[in-house]
Amino acid sequence: MFYLYGGEDGEDEREDPGSGDVGSIAGRVAVVLTVTDSSCGDSDVVDTPTERRVKRWSFSLEELLADATGRHEFQMFLEKEYSSENLHFWNAVEELKGLPHSQVPSRVHTIYQQYLGPGALHEINIDGKTMEETVEAMKSPSRFTFDKAQAHIFLLMKKDSYQRFLRSNEYKALLANAVIPSTKKKFFAFGNKKKSPNPSPKSKRRGSASSMMTTDHCLAANTLTQHSYSTGNLQELDTTRSSKSSPSECTIEEQKTSNHRSLSPSSFMKKLNDLVRSENTRSNLEVPSHPAQLTADTQQSDDGGGGSSESDEPAGSSIALNIAVPNTKHNVVAPWEEDI
């Protein structure tokens, strides 16, 4: 058994999931890990994050805000407490930092009017001194105009809202509903692999657009039909999915995730992006938000029966696993181990 990653400190594994070019093997392994761990990049909002991901949010507010899903959940929580304007402001300032230089002054004024100015609609809670300094900095608008106010708001959230978020029922529910991708279960169910009705991923691996829909995705797609009736078997979906991913697929997947963010997108990718977008706005009932699953559903429908029948099996074994090895769920097993 080879544990690639066993620690709890999520710090070092965030290798900027958005970076397109993964040259070195080390970099590749790092991204493979990120992909295996969180099912897709941190910059996507998913409906049911993995347990590791939810746990990582409790390390620090920085961790929570670095994750789009975490940010989204925190936002929902703040809305209930009537203090979401703080996070909105924080986001707006982050966005400002990434704007082209030409747009900065006008955006600075928009942010000021929205969050700081007299009678602002979403006035944030900053003290007089910070306000004074911000007004002073407004005289020469730059990306850093709001840094002090942002830091102030960040600390207010950290001291108060974030602490409560971690103790809230919302967070507990997230943790309870989080999926546990236990790759280890393959030890007990390795026989399944042979029965897999899916075409070997190796036959159409690299480069082609359809490689996006290799096993893990079509499995997700196949089980999707079940999920429209019930969300009860979430866990088995994810275990099935992650158990199926081989290293090459992960790498491809990771390249695709980065592709449809920054690199030259083909028309297929555009379509995918649209799907992802529509996926994100869906209700919570629709569980897996993997980019490719909808397309995969239509294209690979011929092996639908096989996929769903297989998904029944790991449920039992994953329970057995949880009882047998309760503490190992954090260890991500090297995906190529599955060939044992």
Binding site: A66, E81, G128, F154, L155, K158
Partner: protein, 388 residues
């Protein structure tokens, strides 16, 4: 056929739910806690928890250690800043070295700490590519972008902190603490007084420590507790001026408003606006809230809080620094005068129950909370009998 049946069943269950809700509502009292920033609203909620909740068991109290150490670290930073200002440096060299590293490790949270720039969904990479952001403003080097300090680690430096605390230069600066700018807040003074106890490795916060914590509330929090068959929903808000527009969301369905005023605010200014006197601002916002059309039928309970501080402070700063027409000179006269300022501003047909309180005094608060509960029960009975 099946559809009709299920529809009927659903309708019944909704009716049932409505009945239940109505019944619950009659037994539920909604209390709104309002008042300016750091007037003791959240502390009052803690008192409710002590007297009618779980009373902060040990494991609940230990969760507050981080908050306490954060207050301690803020206070130490402020003291060290003034040591630099008054004395130049610490008396002993090793203390001076530690003071420097302490201020780096645990910076005063306000203004100093810069957030780590997270990869934002909208083109964080663009910023990196653009050559023009070479000039990073001072104090924002990459090194400072690390995660915020974990204040519980303060404990690891117990020996050094206590040595520093005994340093002659620190002692001398503390003698001039009334000259501090900004001044030490009462919570910080309290925690510094108990520094030795706080830094022991087995330290578990006492109830008093928990009550003293200064931590600004963000947004709006709901707390529920049950007492004598009535369930109370207490709503705690942030008191800063820019947060008061959120109060109005809760004016509906309120049984009573608890309005908190910091008595010691007569010689303080607001943290959000240094031009405004805190007590003046309290008077203004009290007037505004009590005349609000949503709260015409709502009873008000006024808490003139921080009595202990007021009594201490009135000896050195006379009240007519704030109110020129005040002529008295005893503490009780001053109290009556302030009380009068508030009652003068209330509508004629309204009863306002006034309590002079001290939210950190658990025994005093026990009596006050008992009185207030009686009033609430009375109000609730009156409301139940009142035709709608």
């Amino acid at each position: 056929m099946h559809k009709v049946q299920s529809a009927i069943a659903r309708s019944k269950s909704i009716d049932h739910q409505l009945d239940e809700d109505r019944e619950k509502k009659q037994k539920e009292v909604q209390l709104l806690v309002l008042g300016g920033a750091s007037s003791g609203k959240s502390t009052f909620i803690k008192q409710l928890r002590i007297h009618h909740g779980d009373g902060f068991p040990v494991d609940e109290r230990s969760k507050h250690t981080g908050d306490i150490y954060e207050n301690v670290s803020d206070a130490l930073n402020l003291v060290l800043d003034h040591v630099k200002k008054f004395e130049g440096q610490c008396n002993l060299k090793e203390n001076e070295v530690f003071a420097r590293s302490f201020q780096e490790m645990f910076p005063r949270w306000r203004h100093r700490y810069i957030t780590k720039v997270c990869p934002s969904p909208v083109g964080a990479g663009v910023a990196m590519l653009e050559a023009e952001i070479v000039a990073v403003p001072c104090g924002m080097t990459q090194n400072e972008c690390g995660p915020a300090p974990d204040y519980v680690r303060l404990r690891e430096y117990c020996a050094q902190i206590l040595a520093l605390w005994r340093d002659v230069a620190v002692r001398n600066s503390l003698l001039r603490k009334h000259e501090f700018e900004p001044a030490l807040v009462p919570a910080e003074e309290y925690f510094l007084e108990h520094l030795t106890r706080l830094l022991t490795p087995v330290y578990i916060p006492t109830l008093m420590d928990v009550l003293y914590i200064r931590k600004p509330t963000l947004g709006v929090q709901e707390h529920t507790f049950v007492s004598d068959g009535l369930s109370y929903r207490v709503i705690d808000v942030a008191g800063q001026m820019n947060q008061r527009k959120k109060w109005i969301h809760f004016f509906d369905d309120v049984t009573a408003v608890f309005f908190f005023v910091s008595l010691s605010g007569y010689c303080e200014t607001l943290e959000e606006d240094a031009m405004l006197n805190s007590l003046d601002d309290s008077l203004a916002s009290f007037t505004e809230v009590i005349h609000n059309s949503f709260l015409v039928k709502t009873d008000f309970i006024l808490f003139l809080n921080k009595r202990d501080l007021f009594e201490k402070r009135i000896k050195s700063v006379p009240l007519n620094a704030c109110f020129q027409d005040y002529k008295g000179n005893s503490v009780s006269e001053a109290l009556t005068f302030i009380k009068d300022q508030f009652t003068r501003r209330q509508p004629k047909d309204k009863t306002v129950y006034t309590h002079v309180s001290c939210a950190i005094d658990t025994e005093l608060m026990r009596c006050i909370i008992r009185d207030v509960m009686n009033i609430i029960v009375e109000i609730n009975l009156r409301k139940a009998n009142m035709p709608l």
